[in-house]
């Protein structure tokens, strides 16, 4: 090589026309797609996990001799999966808008809407899951001891179910935060930043 690296650098850039500045108005396009894709992947993964559990529960129930409780949990899980699938399908109908900002905003609206609907459903489903769990524990205990359900125990279970019903929205939100918290925060931050970017 004839020239020193300093010369190559200096002369190379002296008449360089390739220093074309990339466009920055597409700043968030790929970011948005990536973010939404990540959330969609997680939602699908969650769906698969629910389906796997729906298959496993009756099998476990069979071996634990609580087949009906296993089937009941499975039916509940399948209903949850069906509802979640419907929610995920709605993403496709979202308004993609003119910009990635519009898309993220409509995605955020869909998310909030889906969450508020799910909270209402969780009120009943969580209580039912709790009753199934109690029934499973009761059946197992009954099998071993042959005891009968006392009125006091019945009252305690009923009160505990009411407590679960009352706190189900918080439990559900905690559950969702645990699974999707990071992506949700990222989505909020991205939208906030895009709004700020627009304002300058």
């Amino acid at each position: 090589m004839e020239n020193s690296i300093e010369t190559i650098w200096k002369e190379g850039f002296l008449h360089e026309k390739s220093l074309v500045v990339p466009r920055v108005n597409d700043l968030y396009n790929r970011k948005s797609i990536h973010l939404v894709d990540r959330l969609k992947r997680r939602l699908r993964l969650n769906l698969i996990m629910i389906l796997v559990l729906a298959i496993l529960f009756p099998v476990i129930g069979y071996f634990m001799q609580v087949i009906w409780q296993g089937v009941a949990a499975s039916v509940l899980l399948l209903l949850t999966a069906w509802y979640n699938k419907r929610q995920i399908d709605r993403i496709k109908t979202l308004d993609q808008g003119a910009t990635s900002f519009d898309y993220l905003r409509s995605f955020d609206r869909w998310l909030k809407d889906a969450l508020s609907r799910s909270v209402k459903i969780a009120r009943f489903s969580y209580s039912l899951y709790f009753l199934i769990a109690v029934s499973t524990a009761w059946s197992t205990w009954n099998e071993q001891t042959g005891g009968e359900l006392s009125i006091a125990a019945g009252i305690i279970v009923a009160m505990a179910t009411l407590v679960v019903f009352y706190f189900s929205d918080r439990i559900y939100r905690w559950d969702v935060r645990l699974m999707y918290g990071r992506v949700f925060r990222k989505l909020e931050l991205t939208i906030a930043e895009m709004e700020k970017l627009k304002q300058g």
């Binding site: 690296i5 190559i8 650098w9 850039f13 360089e16 500045v21 920055v24 700043l27 790929r30 930043e193």
Partner: protein, 164 residues
């Protein structure tokens, strides 16, 4: 980001950002991603600029930090730019991003260096003093001269070995 901020505070330093981003990427797509990320980071951190250094030093520092972070992130996600023999996996048109062929060769050689050595040599080639280089990279200025000489030797070897 307002057009004014971009036009006044970033555009005059676009060449710096482009030169740095090119050294850490091998495709046009990645290059544009890195460039945009650097611009965004400059905008994000504009309020932290305390005028203890010049704006261009600030831009260099941010551009290098962003590139190093992105390279690290991609590595952890399993993206590799180079095959086991240290050469780019695919010699794409993007490896010839500049009209000057010798400049393309120099860039290809620079991409063979470690991330920190790349930063160091870029700053040296941009005629930053050892003190400024140390300030931007947050290291001691004492051994920068020795390191620069070693890197230059290595670059010569790479270029001669590959292209002559």
């Amino acid at each position: 980001m307002s057009n004014d901020f971009y036009r006044i505070s970033i555009l005059p330093f676009a060449a710096i950002i482009i030169k740095i981003c090119r050294a850490y990427t091998t495709s046009q797509e990645d290059f544009e991603d890195y460039y945009q990320e650097v611009c965004l980071q400059i905008w994000r951190s504009k309020d932290n600029f305390r005028e203890q250094c010049s704006w261009s030093t600030w831009v260099y520092r941010i551009a290098l930090n962003v590139c190093l972070t992105l390279v690290k992130k991609r590595k952890s996600k399993g993206h590799t730019y180079f095959s086991s023999d240290g050469l780019p996996d695919v010699v794409t048109i993007e490896n010839r991003a500049f009209a000057d062929e010798q400049l393309n060769q120099l860039y290809t050689a620079i991409r063979h260096l470690s991330e920190v050595d790349r930063a160091l040599i870029l700053l040296y080639l941009e005629e930053k003093s050892y003190g400024e280089i140390a300030e931007i990279l947050g290291t001691n200025a004492n051994n920068i001269g020795v390191r620069v000489n070693r890197i230059k030797e290595r670059l010569k070897k790479i270029i001669n070995g590959e292209f002559n």
